[in-house]
């Protein structure tokens, strides 16, 4: 035993403690490069993972069932929802975060297993046994050990350094990614409790349902979001596409997303912004470029003028609706509420929380608090006839 603090000339320390110290010394001599294993562990894991995973895959596939893709998490994915799962990335920022998270999880799991294993062992091995009540001697009092304390300082420092470097790389590659000159620019303004989307170079203004073009894994198309808020703090969080970024009044933040597959990606506001924070949902439609171009062209059209809905339009234009809402091509030019030029073509209203049907539109206009108590749109106090007309009109605004 080496010299340490608190050596005593009372009975020697227990055998197990001697063994422990000897084991540590042995490990330090025999595997001086063991620390490097921590860094190359992911490679080691992948190399050996490939050997037993096929057997696991076969078991899972079962007789006569379509084989699963060689995807490590496919089993987990069948048990746990994928809708807004941060471990189901579908864009480059989310992928980068996902891979970094695997490293972090690996390190923290190892630390947990080692430390809790030692803890559990100590609690069992050194519990006070009933036979010892006749023996009142206290165990050996060990006050410390410089070598041991040094080793469990140095090793965590090295782990921290390694983890920090891996993290810093992802921070810079995500936040300072060079922006392509032809990237799509979208301005996102957060409101209580809806999302305003403007495409400055395209001249499109819409609300709550964001359409962006999507490439594929080989040629992703990034969309750059320039974000701020009109009132309180919000946060744009679509877990499968990227980490969240806050929308803060009097501050401009930027982020980018590039879906690698077409589809609908859900999210919601990630920063408490008031009463209806919970229902400020996000819907990101990743369209193929041709679909996206068609959508843009349609959005640039002024509002549909359906003669059958003329009465509803008249009700709309003579009421306070025009103070808050814009319908392009009419006198309604309000900016406080969502743009309604093409509201009929959206899948949802009330920022993603209510399906867009005529009945729901009517009920919402009648009393927004029915769906979203605390929403800033007041009851419009229209009579039943006007309500029917306005709802029908809004439905025609495709």
């Amino acid at each position: 035993m080496g010299a340490g603090v608190g050596r005593s000339n009372r009975p020697a320390p227990t055998k197990s403690f001697c063994r422990f110290t000897r084991l540590v010394r042995f490990a330090q001599r025999r595997y001086p490069l063991a620390r490097l294993a921590l860094i190359s562990a992911p490679k080691f894991y992948r190399r050996h993972f490939g050997r037993w995973y096929p057997a696991l895959k076969r078991t899972l596939a079962g007789a006569g069932r379509r084989r699963q893709e060689a995807d490590a998490l496919s089993f987990v994915r069948r048990v746990v929802s994928q809708v807004t799962n941060i471990f189901a990335p579908a864009a480059t920022p989310a992928h980068a975060i996902f891979h970094l998270s695997l490293l972090v999880l690996g390190i923290t799991s190892c630390i947990f297993l080692v430390v809790s294993g030692l803890l559990l062992y100590a609690l069992i091995r050194f519990r006070n046994r009933a036979s010892a009540t006749s023996d009142p001697q206290e165990p050996a009092q060990i006050y410390g050990s410089n070598q041991i304390e040094l080793s469990w300082t140095v090793i965590p420092v090295l782990i921290v350094v390694m983890l920090f470097l891996a993290t810093a790389r992802i921070i810079f590659s995500t936040e300072n990614a060079p922006k392509p000159s032809d990237a799509l620019d979208i301005t996102v303004i957060g409101h209580q409790f809806w999302w305003e989307y403007r495409y400055p170079k395209l001249g499109v203004v819409t609300a709550n349902e964001l359409h962006i073009p999507t490439g594929d894994a080989a040629h992703p198309i990034p969309s750059y979001l320039t974000m701020s808020s009109a009132d309180t703090d919000h946060s744009f969080w679509v877990p499968r596409l990227a980490g969240k970024m806050d929308l803060i009044p009097n501050k401009i933040n930027t982020m980018w997303i590039d879906p690698l597959e077409p589809g609908l990606f859900l999210g919601q506001c990630g920063q408490y912004c008031g009463t209806q924070h919970a229902k400020m949902l996000i819907r990101v439609y990743a369209d193929r470029p041709a679909q996206f171009a068609a959508w843009v062209a349609h959005q640039l059209q002024p509002a549909a003028q359906d003669p059958a809905a003329a009465e509803g339009q008249a009700v709309f234009l003579r009421n306070a609706c025009i103070s808050c809402h814009t319908v392009a091509g009419t006198t309604a030019a309000g900016r406080f509420g969502p743009d309604l030029t093409h509201v009929g073509g959206r899948d949802t209203i009330a920022s993603g929380s209510v399906p867009n049907t005529a009945a729901n539109l009517r009920a919402f206009v009648d009393n927004p608090a029915h769906f979203k108590p605390g929403a800033l749109m007041p009851e419009m106090h229209l009579n039943a006839h006007d309500l029917d007309a306005v709802a029908a009109y809004l439905t025609t605004l495709k």
């Binding site: 006070n128 009092q141 009097n250 920063q271 408490y272």
Partner: protein, 563 residues
């Protein structure tokens, strides 16, 4: 005996009369006391009352969140519930109970007769108590007594500009501001008191290097409290100026900065959670050695690690702001600082492990809670490492993963250690032993409930569920996890009720404890249970870190091995 003056003779000859209203006398004694022990008990009792109230608020929230689109409470009520739950638990449960234990134990542990400033001590308690009452008065008065009144609903950290008059009309936010401000005044008083007491009032022979680790940790805690209450108070005053005097510090519509509030708040808020956790470490440093029958492993390293944690905690605040858009440089710095704080924290865990190693572990209820603390604090620290990785925090910030992480620290580490401290020091405070049998039921029920709730709470966070939502969509796949989380709350409630019953029952029927029921080694066990008003008959002179060990083992005192 010297000749007595006539006045004293007269006093000696008269028979004392019984007070006409004994209960009033008792109450008067408590209200006007400056005795650190009574003040400590008042802090603890007050905190337990608010623990029950804030616990009920949590239960109501869990009922609302058990199923999607539930209508158990309205969104307005839910938003008030989580604001009040957080504010109450941090300022009116956590701080009082930990300062209460400190008040009670520190003079006893250093061989002093009271704190350095007894009247400041009483003042600090009463002003904190007033703050708590003010916060809850908001239920009646928040809207100026028209209607039903409004508790604050801006979240416990009250981000600007949600707190401006535009978005928070009425007075609910003002109740929050003033209550927290008053609580801060109380914290400063107690922190001052603790530092002055620990530095100036130690008994002969107690050099700083012989101070019990509990006292060291309370010194660091108090130093942090002194530093951080100033930015919080400044922010509260700036908010009041914004709301009533036409200032625009945080008024973004007039060019003010919402991020400024966040910086001010989190410069307070992060060290604040260390103010809450360091006393839990303090308890662990006393309880784990006693029930392992070994001295703490690495006393100097423990002191250095604790002081290090205190310093570093002042430099990590913006890890609460990774999503605010501070830039890659700032995000990187705060990632590094947060990871660095894991090193001294890990050292402490390893030192506790080494204390257990080679010992003779007695699994009393106090020790069971301390062991729970060790495992759970390890996990909490590891989820903290996950959150310190800034890109991963971009996903998980503001989600239920963060809620799970900090409840793991607050409940799994701090509350478990508080329970442990209760089982360990209740005999000293009351003279009676708590029932180990009821204690074991308390422990296992609470453990099951804790893990049901807070283990599974990590999953909705990973699945994209944000926090502070009064409900959620059914198509996200979050319901099953929320049901499990809510079910754990029932076990925790029953466990806590058993604990309260244990304390009440033991006060009347518990076995007499004696001065030193645990065969421990620090000075509080050298006096009777409960201690007399003057704490010690004679102030002891000590020669090592464990004076009672020296007395019990005169052939092999600690002083032979310390440096």
């Amino acid at each position: 005996m010297a000749t007595q003056t006539p006045e004293i003779e007269i006093l000696n000859q008269s028979t004392p009369t019984e007070p006409r209203h004994p209960w009033l006398e008792v109450l008067h004694g408590w209200v006007t006391t400056v005795d650190h022990k009574k003040i400590g008990l008042m802090y603890i009792g007050y905190a337990l009352l608010f623990l029950v109230i804030a616990g009920v608020e949590a239960l109501l929230m869990r009922v609302q969140l058990a199923i999607p689109n539930n209508t158990f409470v309205s969104p307005q009520v839910f938003n008030r519930l989580f604001t009040m739950h957080g504010t109450t638990m941090v300022f009116f449960v956590g701080m009082p109970i930990l300062f209460g234990f400190g008040n009670y134990l520190i003079p006893l542990m250093i061989g002093a007769r009271d704190m350095a400033f007894p009247r400041l001590n009483a003042f600090s308690f009463w002003i904190s108590a007033f703050g708590g009452l003010l916060l809850y008065f908001s239920f009646l008065g928040g809207d100026g007594l028209y209607g039903a009144g409004n508790a604050p609903d801006v979240g416990w950290f009250a981000y600007a500009p949600l707190t401006s008059r535009v978005f928070s009309p009425g007075h609910s936010t003002d109740y929050w501001t003033l209550a927290v401000l008053l609580s801060g005044v109380g914290s400063v008083g107690t922190a001052l008191n603790i530092i002055a007491t620990a530095i100036c009032m130690r008994c002969p022979g107690m050099k700083m290097s012989r101070l019990p680790l509990l006292v060291w940790l309370y010194i660091v805690t108090s130093g942090l409290a002194l530093i951080i209450v100033s930015p919080l108070t400044a922010a509260q005053i700036m908010l009041m100026l914004d709301r009533y005097a036409g200032a625009h510090f945080f008024d973004t519509q007039a060019g003010g900065s919402a991020v400024l509030w966040m910086h001010f708040f989190w410069i307070f808020g992060h060290p604040e959670v260390y103010v809450l956790v360091l006393p839990a470490f303090a308890f662990a440093n006393e309880i784990i050695p006693v029930f392992s029958r070994k001295a703490i492993f690495g006393y100097p390293a423990m002191v250095a690690a604790s002081v290090g944690i205190g310093f570093i905690s002042l430099s990590v605040w913006a890890h609460h702001m990774f999503t605010v858009g501070l830039g890659a440089g700032a995000n990187t710095f705060f990632t590094l600082a947060t990871m660095v704080i894991a090193v001294p924290t890990g050292i402490k865990i390893f030192n506790w492990l080494a204390t257990l190693w080679g010992g003779r572990i007695h699994f009393t209820v106090a020790m069971m809670f301390a062991v729970g603390f060790l495992f759970q604090f390890l996990i909490a620290g590891l989820t903290g490492i996950m959150l310190s990785v800034s890109p991963l925090d971009w996903q998980l910030s503001g989600s239920y993963f963060v809620v799970a992480h900090f409840h793991y620290v607050l409940v799994g580490a701090i509350l478990f250690m508080i329970f442990s401290a209760f089982y360990y020091w209740y005999p000293k405070m009351s003279g009676r032993m708590l029932s180990e049998k009821i204690g074991k039921w308390h422990f296992w029920l609470f453990l099951i409930g804790f893990h049901l709730t807070f283990d599974f709470m990590h999953v909705p966070g990973i699945l994209g569920m944000p926090r502070r939502v009064y409900t959620y969509e059914a198509d996200r796949g979050w319901m099953i996890w929320n049901v499990i989380v809510s079910s754990g709350a029932i076990f925790q409630t029953i466990g806590t009720l058993l604990f309260v019953y244990n304390m009440i029952r033991a006060y009347f029927k518990g076995p007499i404890a004696g001065a030193d029921p645990w065969d421990a080694w620090t000075l509080e066990w050298a006096t009777s249970s409960p201690p007399p008003d003057y704490n010690f008959e004679t102030i002891p002179t000590i020669r090592s870190r464990r004076p009672l060990w020296d007395l019990k083992h005169p052939e092999d005192p600690d002083s032979n091995y310390e440096f």
